[in-house]
């Protein structure tokens, strides 16, 4: 079969050679053949150029390319990677160009510990229905160290570090990365207690997941570098209310404590003010008493010589003076006249609490 092609090419040439002995008809035929032959040659040359031209390819800024020559990478290790720009390789089937995204961040998510939810539901903020138990074939979860069930999911961002390995050693490297993430989430949850995962020690849990997945990826030699790993955990929907109650109780507890503390501040500041005012009162009483006594003593010193001059007159004078002032101040004055036999008259006095002013009644 391979001999057929040159043979057919040979044939027109053979007819073409004895040109001189041709008649007009065959000359016209050979002319036509010659010109069509020229066209064919031109087409062949163009096709060949196109064939060579098809070997040009560009590599984008976030890509690297590897040329496989007869299936084997050209160059070793780093040198096999072609950077951004225009490159040329032999056209297929000699060379094959494989492009790998390198600086772009790849992303995988692990939902092995999450309930089944579609993207639409997720976006709409809806949650699928659930029963009193979890069907393992449908909804995922992870077991915690203290035997509790928790929903947990993780997202991992990574970069391809070794594109040759990433592309040529794994049928689906991103799948392998995701499985490593699943495993990290599962095994890390299995050594954390439910409260640590959900509330007490979220960062430690997330960090442990990240460390574990990094370890796994290194062990499996996937040629990737972990950029970022985020974990989201929450109690299963079946017991959500019970968990919320604990949170509420804790909030309530701190509220009760805050109230107690504010009561403490209030009581103590009031007591402190009261204590100070009691001391101040005593102090002012002291000053008053001392001054009072001192002024009396002074007064006494002044009066003493006068008294010594004429004690009786002095006493009368003072007494009357004081009584006069007293009687002037007294609101109600009742004079009880003496009877003829010198006895004092009987007087009844009715106190009435309900009236603002004391009322007197006189009897004769």
């Amino acid at each position: 079969m391979s001999n057929d092609l040159p043979a057919t090419k040979e044939a027109p040439e053979a007819r073409y050679a004895p040109e001189t002995s041709m008649d007009a008809g065959s000359q016209a035929l050979s002319e036509a053949l010659r010109s069509s032959f020229g066209i064919i040659k031109l087409v062949v040359v163009i096709l060949f150029l196109v064939f060579l031209g098809s070997g040009f390819f560009t590599v984008g800024p976030q890509e690297r390319a590897i040329i496989l020559r007869f299936g084997k990478p050209v160059g070793q290790g780093e040198r096999a990677l072609l950077g951004p720009g225009l490159h040329w390789s032999f056209p297929y089937p000699m060379d094959e160009v494989v492009k790998v995204s390198i600086t772009g961040i790849q992303k995988v998510g692990s939902t092995v510990g999450w309930f089944a939810i579609t993207e639409q539901q997720e976006l709409a903020g809806l949650e699928p229905m659930f029963g009193p138990s979890i069907n393992p074939a449908q909804d995922g979860y992870v077991l915690t160290a203290d035997g509790n069930i928790v929903n947990s999911r993780a997202t991992l961002n990574y970069r391809i570090n070794d594109p040759v390995r990433y592309v040529f050693s794994f049928a689906s490297a991103s799948n392998a990365v995701q499985q490593a993430l699943d495993n990290a989430l599962l095994s890390t949850a299995a050594r954390f207690k439910v409260d640590d995962i959900l509330t007490r020690d979220i960062t430690a849990f997330n960090e442990a997941v990240r460390r574990r997945v990094t370890e796994q990826l290194e062990k499996q030699n996937l040629g990737v570098i972990v950029e970022q790993c985020s974990v989201e955990s929450r109690p299963p929907r079946q017991v959500k209310e019970a968990f919320n109650n604990v949170l509420r109780a804790e909030v309530n507890r701190s509220k009760v404590l805050n109230d107690a503390h504010s009561y403490e501040v209030q009581v103590l500041s009031k007591a402190s003010a009261d204590a100070q005012s009691r001391v101040n009162l005593a102090e002012s009483e002291r000053v008053r008493l001392v001054q009072d006594v001192a002024s009396r003593a002074e007064q006494f010193q002044e009066l003493l010589p006068k008294f010594r001059e004429n004690p009786k007159l002095f006493a009368e004078q003072r007494l009357n003076g004081v009584l006069g002032r007293v009687f002037a101040n007294v609101q109600d004055k009742i004079l009880v006249p003496a009877t003829a036999d010198g006895k004092t008259m009987e007087l009844r006095y009715l106190f009435n609490r309900e009236l603002p002013k004391p009322k007197t009644e006189e009897q004769k």
Binding site: L5, E10, F70, G71, K72, V112, P132, S133, P136, V142, L143, D146, G147, F168, A171, Q179, S187, A190, R191, F192, K193, K219, Q238, V239, A242, N245, R248, R253, S254, V256, L257, H261, E264, V267, L268, A271, D274, A275, Q276, R278, V279, A282, E285, R286, L289, V293, R296, A297, Q299, L304, F307, V326, N329, V330, Q331, D332, K333, I334, L335, T360
Partner: protein
Amino acid sequence: MNRKPLTIVIGVLLVIIFGLLLFVFQVRQSEVAVVTTFGRPTRPITEPGLKGKLPWPIQKVYKFDRRVQNFEDRLTEGLTRDNFNLLTSTYVGWKITDPTAFLPKFVGSGEPISEAEKVLERLLGNAKSAVVGKHPLSDFVSATDNGTNFMTIEGEILQALQGQVRANNYGLDIEFLGLKKVQLPESVTQSVFERMTSERKLLADRSQFEGEAEASKIRSEAERKAAEMLAAADGQATAIRGRAEAEAAKSLAVFQQNPELANFIFRLNALEGSLKDRSTLVFDYHTPPFDLFRGVSTNLLHK
């Protein structure tokens, strides 16, 4: 005429190309191949590149993907050593390492990779139930051992699987293995939820009662402190008053010069002080100065 040699060159080139197509083949970086001679595997090829062979029907080439394949088995139920039902599922990374051994075992009935995975699933099932049965549940989930038991379990499953694969000479190798799911049977989850709920209730109650106890402690403490402060202040006040008495007592010495007068003055002051305002006074004619009403004053007039 220079066309003739050119034509001959092209012809020869084409012959060579067709010849090559019969005698050589490519093995890509991601592939392994095995050459069979009259149906018998004779030459494994594990390096990529351009390889030669005799044309069909003498020799034939089988190519396989040599990259690591990801395989996940279904959840299978197994009993732990302490009789817990546990559902486990694993993922396995495996690849074809020996095409000569692989070829007769898996080529023929279907797609070789999925045929191999069927076998793997069966072997994995055996390996898992053997290993799970050796461990108590606390080896799977534990807060204390830092996950070493978990890794031990994975290692043991891997070893068991690896052993089976090698013993049967399947021509493949297990690269890595990990647990993907460890779950409880559906009926058990409900009782776990009940337990979780009661645990939560305990926690909620505890935090409520602890909060209340703490709060009442704070309150009573505050009240005690306040009482102490007031008592201390009262003490201080009493001391001040005592000092006042003592200071006043110094001045009292003055009154010793004439106690009679002092007494009189004090009584006058007391009287004046006690009848300051809004008081009612009942008196008779004996009370000075109202004795004047009785005409005592006349004595003076008539004297």
